[in-house]
Amino acid sequence: MIHYDKVTKVYNGGQHAVEDITLSIESGEFVFIVGHSGAGKTTLLKMLFAEVAPTSGSVYFNSRSIGELSNGELLNMRRNIGTVFQDFRLLPTKTIYENIAFALEVAGKSDDDIKADVPHVLELVGLSDKMWSFPRELSGGEQQRVAIARAIVNQPNVLIADEPTGNLDPINTHDVVEILKKINNLGTTVLLATHNRSIVDSVGKRVVTMDQGRLIRDDKMGKYIL
């Protein structure tokens, strides 16, 4: 489903963020990408939704090279990939309802579908009562759950989570991980970049370890080893 083929990314300053990585991820997998800060985890994920282009090599999504997609195809692909970030990245001037509705609107959903889907997904992440609040009125954990709700509302094939628990306390971290496991059980491929040892060890799924831009370990039922 996802294939990185000898991918290298060199930023303008000459810094090698990702170096010669070849990696395949099958549909329905739950994959942790672990490594210290600056290991290249974020760059690797950003290349999947084309926020960063590789300097050499290719990234394939559903057997199509992302670099060769047209603008329209790229937008469609992004609507098929949910994204969650450490800093939540919600739209600050929109209510929680509007934040989630926005993802549905850009995917071309009707007003009736939006009215039905948004309350449903908010119920799934336990935030039905916050529908008309603004992001600034929510705690960090709640904002992250909204971000997850927005990422999954279009029922994407893949969910990318880049340090989603980085700003959360242990209880909220546990909640977020449980939601991600639930989403994976429903068939969505989950890629989770983290350096939180305890969640990697507790879930017991595939672990890809990166160090200084290189892939140094890929364990099917791995632990956090660095």
């Binding site: 992004r78 994204t83 990245r89 001037t93 926005f102 993802a103 850009v106 009707s110």
Partner: protein, 309 residues
């Protein structure tokens, strides 16, 4: 998805953004109001300049005096020839009797002159043509034409007694200079002030959108098309323009009412308030059109900077 639903959603987010980003909207509207006020000021200034210059130009003419024995046909011929010149705006004929009547009217309080005139049996004044050029710089060419006629000893030429251009030449030249300089200076001032105001307004909107750059990034990531991202910002830009335009149109009423009379005393016939009232439709179109275009274009360009594929 239908274009109508898309447009409706974009417009709604534009309105919502305008209201919810209240402080940013206030800043943008304030700056755009000042910009449009400068534009309105330039329009009033331009109209005042045009009216005053036109009025001065109206006061200049060249008179062709005919001899007292010039035949009516010769004068009519001269008038026809002058009318045919491209530089000539109008030629008005003052007959000997009219010239006498005008002379009497002008000197009605000067008993001595009137008595002297009464002593004469014949009307001592010749007929006259008052020639008005389209442009003050063209009087010289008209005078040269008349001079050529005079020296060519045609019947028309010999009927001409005097052309008063050379007596007025210095005054006409000076006025031509003043008019040219005023127009050039007026254009330069208008262009410089207009550009400065536009740049300030454009940068304010850019700054307003700079605060939303992360938001634009998120919209890109969730798969929003460029127009879906850009649309609400452009709608908000149009709203900045509409609100500022309305404020300016409202402000112009008391401003022109207040400055109208003193300005009229200074300039002669131009009244700013009468101009505002009479030209309201064109002022409305220019101010609102500029506001909307400036807001939409600035937003379009500012968002483009943060849009990615």
């Amino acid at each position: 998805m239908s274009l109508w639903i898309n447009t409706k959603r974009v417009a709604r987010y534009g309105f919502i953004g305008f209201i919810r980003n209240g402080f940013v909207s206030l800043a943008a509207v304030s700056i755009m109001t000042l910009t449009l006020l400068v534009l309105a000021g330039l329009m009033v200034f331009g109209a005042a300049l045009d009216t005053t210059l036109a009025q001065l130009t109206q006061k200049v003419d060249v008179n062709v005096y005919f001899t007292t024995n010039a035949a009516e046909a010769e004068i009519t011929d001269a008038k026809r020839m002058l009318d045919a010149l491209p530089e000539v705006a109008s030629v008005s004929y003052v007959s000997r009797d009219d010239a006498l009547a005008q002379f009497r009217e002008r000197h009605k309080n000067d008993q001595l002159t009137i008595q002297a005139l009464d002593e004469l049996k014949d009307n001592p004044l010749g007929a006259m043509l008052q020639v008005r050029a389209k442009n003050t710089s063209q009087y010289e060419a008209i005078a040269k034409f008349l001079e050529t006629q005079q020296s060519s000893e045609t019947s028309v030429g010999s009927a001409i007694d005097k052309v008063n251009f050379y007596q007025n030449k210095t005054a006409i030249d000076r006025l031509t200079n003043i008019i040219d300089t005023s127009k050039r200076l007026g254009t330069i001032v208008a262009v410089v002030m207009g550009l400065a105001s536009l740049l300030i307004a454009f940068n304010t909107i850019r700054l307003a959108i700079y605060t939303s750059r992360d938001e634009i990034g998120v919209m890109n990531i969730v798969g929003a098309s460029k127009w879906y991202v850009r649309g609400p910002f452009m709608i908000a830009g149009v709203l900045y323009g509409v609100v500022s335009g309305l404020i300016v149109l409202l402000l112009l009423y008391p401003i022109t009412l207040y400055v109208g009379p003193p300005l009229q005393r200074f300039l002669g016939t131009f009244n700013a308030f009468s101009y505002y009232a009479a030209s309201f439709p064109s002022i409305f179109l220019v101010i609102m059109g500029s506001g909307i275009a400036l807001g939409a274009l600035s937003s379009y360009l500012a968002v483009r900077r943060y849009l990615r594929n």
